[in-house]
């Protein structure tokens, strides 16, 4: 597994949001809302984190009847360690959008 040594601001932001609920499975739309990232930025990041073993992904049935299953994500132990490390280094408050800051 390789760690992103020169990870972008968006990666830091995504990891910070994932760290807020480390055990919860979250879908892409929710992560997009919380990070403020567009899907075109978010999904390549999710793919990269998954490739690097920092993110688990699985399919889960939707809560809404008649809707297709959703791809859900949560950080792995390595992802959590990296998120904590970057939070200690950079600070979460500086990265999270106002909406997320309020909930922290």
């Amino acid at each position: 597994m390789s760690r992103p040594s020169n990870a972008s601001r968006q990666t830091h932001l995504l990891l910070a949001v994932l760290l807020e609920q480390p055990r919860a499975w979250r879908h892409g739309y929710e992560l997009a809302k919380e990070t403020g990232l567009k899907s075109g930025t978010l999904y390549p990041l999710l793919m990269r984190l998954s490739d690097q073993g920092l993110l688990d992904a699985c399919w889960r049935d939707s809560d809404q009847p008649g809707k297709p299953p959703r791809h859900m994500y949560r950080p792995t132990a390595a992802g959590l360690a990296l998120a904590r490390e970057q939070r200690a280094r950079t600070g979460v408050g500086a990265l999270l959008p106002a909406r997320v800051k309020m909930s922290t």
Partner: protein, 217 residues
């Protein structure tokens, strides 16, 4: 529209990313707001494009050298086309000239005949030489020889001379539309600009020109 975009985004993604394409597509179905769904779909196209470019870079298919080779190939095709259509018209191969002329906006065989007839044999030789030089440049570039760049510059220079000569033939104005002449001119200016920029960058180590030349660094 969003569904169509999501389809294109999925097509752009490499096959090994098919589950991610499905993830973006199914997620869009959970978005109730049409505008947000459309933005999501646009993003999925961008994500597909980003991933496709990353794969190309990873396989080293999108390098300066490969772009330079593609550039030379374009010049070869263009030169071969120009000399072929002129020769076909001069030799009265009506069908062949007309078929090729369909690729030129506003082409009329009857107007092209006086131009082909007015072209001196030396000009055909020059156009043929330009084609040969571009092919030599491509060959040298594929072998990563430094001379490729100089040969390419020479071919572009001779090609410009041939075009300027053509501009001086009165029949050229009737055969080729002003828009097409402008496009050719812009193409030469852009090429000259890129070549000058590469020459200016040549002083820097590992410069684009050195890479265009294919020098092993």
């Amino acid at each position: 529209m969003a569904q169509k975009m999501l389809y294109h985004g999925a097509v752009l993604l490499p096959p090994e990313r098919s589950s991610w394409a499905a993830a973006m597509r199914t997620e869009a179905e959970h978005i109730d707001d049409d505008r947000e769904a459309l933005e999501w779909a646009l993003g999925s196209v961008r994500a597909g494009f980003t991933e496709r470019l990353r794969v190309l870079r990873a396989h080293k298919m999108l390098t300066t050298h490969s772009l330079a080779v593609l550039w030379i190939v374009m010049f070869i095709v263009s030169s071969a086309f120009n000399v072929s259509i002129a020769l076909a018209t001069r030799l009265r191969f009506h069908g062949m000239a007309s078929a090729m002329g369909r690729l030129i906006e506003g082409f009329h065989y009857d107007r092209y005949v006086p131009l082909a007839d007015a072209m001196p044999m030396e000009l055909f030789v020059l156009m043929g030489l330009v084609l040969v030089l571009f092919v030599v440049s491509l060959s040298l570039s594929l072998k990563r020889r430094p001379a490729a760049f100089a040969v390419f510059c020479g071919a572009v220079g001779l090609s410009l001379c041939a075009w300027l000569y053509l501009l001086g033939i009165p029949a050229y104005g009737q055969a080729i539309s002003p828009e097409h002449r402008w496009r050719i001119g812009v193409c030469f200016v852009l090429t000259a600009g890129v070549l000058c920029a590469l020459r200016l960058c040549d002083t820097a180590p590992n410069s684009p020109m050195q890479r265009l030349d294919g020098r092993r660094l």
